[in-house]
Amino acid sequence: MLDAKLDMKLLEMCSKCGACYSICPSCTHIPGYDPREVVKDIVQGNFEKWLTSSAIWQCLECHYCLEMCYQHYGFENAMTALRTIAAKRGVHPPQVKRGWDMFVKTGKLGEPALPARKKLGLPEPSKSGGEELKKLHVLLKAKRAAKGH
């Protein structure tokens, strides 16, 4: 249940629709960006070629497609699935790799700017739950291993 899943049935309907195309900011402002092509390829089993494409990272996750979608599904789900596979294979953007490493290591994407806080008269930042989250990540990994992933 906790694993990411793509609903192929909904995606099949999605490949014949495209109601979201005209409202998607990336479709409007990035020449050549057309997730309808991606969805069609996934439905036909040809997703591999998209894994190394920069296009799958151009979905801004603004959720416009989700709001417009007659199935309340949205093609962002297809993009997320492809990005997850790309990340598993290590072909994701360097910045995403760096961010993920920092997140796993510290539970945050950055540490509070202490000198600036002092200058502004802000209180000491609250304690981070980073260590506890690390434990949860270990537990999650063990749970997956037990399931035979």
């Binding site: 959720h63 709001e67 806080r117 739950g129």
Partner: protein, 313 residues
């Protein structure tokens, strides 16, 4: 009003501590019962964590919500992304009991429990719904009459709507209502609801990110907006920092970017320096100077009206 914890998020505390300052100022000014609590981590950032590992995304957010659940608090955040991510996971778990059970089995190991009782709100809908336009109007010392403000909602303030349920996801109005309460005109313009595009910067596509900023800023320049007002650190990064980078390359668009808490703070009588507006990359002086001029003109006009009103004769 129920007590609430403020979820500051990584971006504000790491890059823009002055936004925390102005948020605290307005929360204090309205005597709102907020708390700082220990134990939060990254919300986590969806475009990063969810793309790599959905389970980690769910467990991390569920743990953050569990922290406020346990204390019987609600949660308010000045970051749209944080609230949207936390609310998405809350929605997912509350509508999938099996998944919720699975997550709670993990959380139990570290002594936590997700119930999903806590209300999760972004600061803007919170001010609109829980503080209210009337209370704000009563408290302001100096209004923004005559100022033309371009609002940028930020996609994650109201989307996904099934999780946030706080405004119309395609034609929201609450932020506009708050701007009107401060006396300013909230402009209607074609790219008003366009995504800022900052996400492209996080996947090594900087030039495309700049293009997104350029489209909106150019339009606002042509329409003569006095400022772009928003309430999301990621959108702020996009329009303040990236606009500054374009400026350095010789493309000056000159649109001051003001955080909602700063605008509210100015109306409450705080100075730009106290609110941290002087820490922005793009100069906000054109906005502040015009505000000063317009306010003086309004006082002079009111004085004239009073002097020329029907009198004793």
């Amino acid at each position: 009003m129920k007590e609430f914890a403020v979820f500051w998020g990584c971006t504000i505390q790491t890059r823009f501590p002055f936004l925390e300052k102005s948020t605290r100022i307005v929360l204090d000014e309205f005597n709102l019962p907020y708390k700082d609590i220990d134990g939060f981590t990254c919300c986590p950032e969806k475009s990063l964590v969810n793309n790599v590992d959905h389970a980690s995304f769910v467990v991390t957010a569920a743990r953050n919500v569990a922290l406020v659940d346990e204390l019987g608090l609600d949660l308010v955040s000045p970051c749209t992304g944080c609230v949207s991510n936390l609310a998405s996971v809350k929605g997912e778990l509350c509508s999938h009991p099996k998944e919720k059970k699975e997550v709670n089995e993990l959380l139990h190991e570290v002594g936590r429990k997700f119930t999903g009782k806590a209300k999760l709100q972004h600061l803007v809908p919170f001010f609109h719904d829980s503080v209210g336009v009337f209370a704000i109007k009563q408290k302001i010392k100096k209004n923004f009459n005559g100022m033309r403000i371009a609002l940028h909602y930020g996609c994650h303030m109201m989307r996904p709507s099934h999780a946030l349920r706080n405004d119309d996801p395609l034609n929201p109005v609450k932020f506009d209502n708050l701007i009107a309460a401060l006396g300013a005109t909230s402009m209607q313009f074609p790219t008003k609801m366009m995504c800022c595009g900052q996400g492209l910067d996080r996947v090594d596509q900087h030039d495309l990110a700049l293009n997104f900023a350029r489209v909106k800023l150019k339009e606002l320049k042509a329409l003569g907006a006095d400022a772009l007002v928003l309430c999301c650190p990621s959108c702020f990064l996009q329009f303040d920092n990236n606009q500054f980078l374009m400026e350095k390359e010789g493309e000056k668009l000159g649109i001051p970017v003001i955080y909602f808490t700063e605008l509210l703070g100015l109306a409450l009588g705080y100075t730009p320096d106290e609110l941290g507006i002087t820490s922005h990359r793009v100069d906000c002086a054109p906005f502040l100077d015009k505000w000063e001029t317009v306010s003086k003109q309004a006082i002079a006009a009111a004085m004239d009206d009073a002097l020329n009103a029907d009198g004793a004769l």
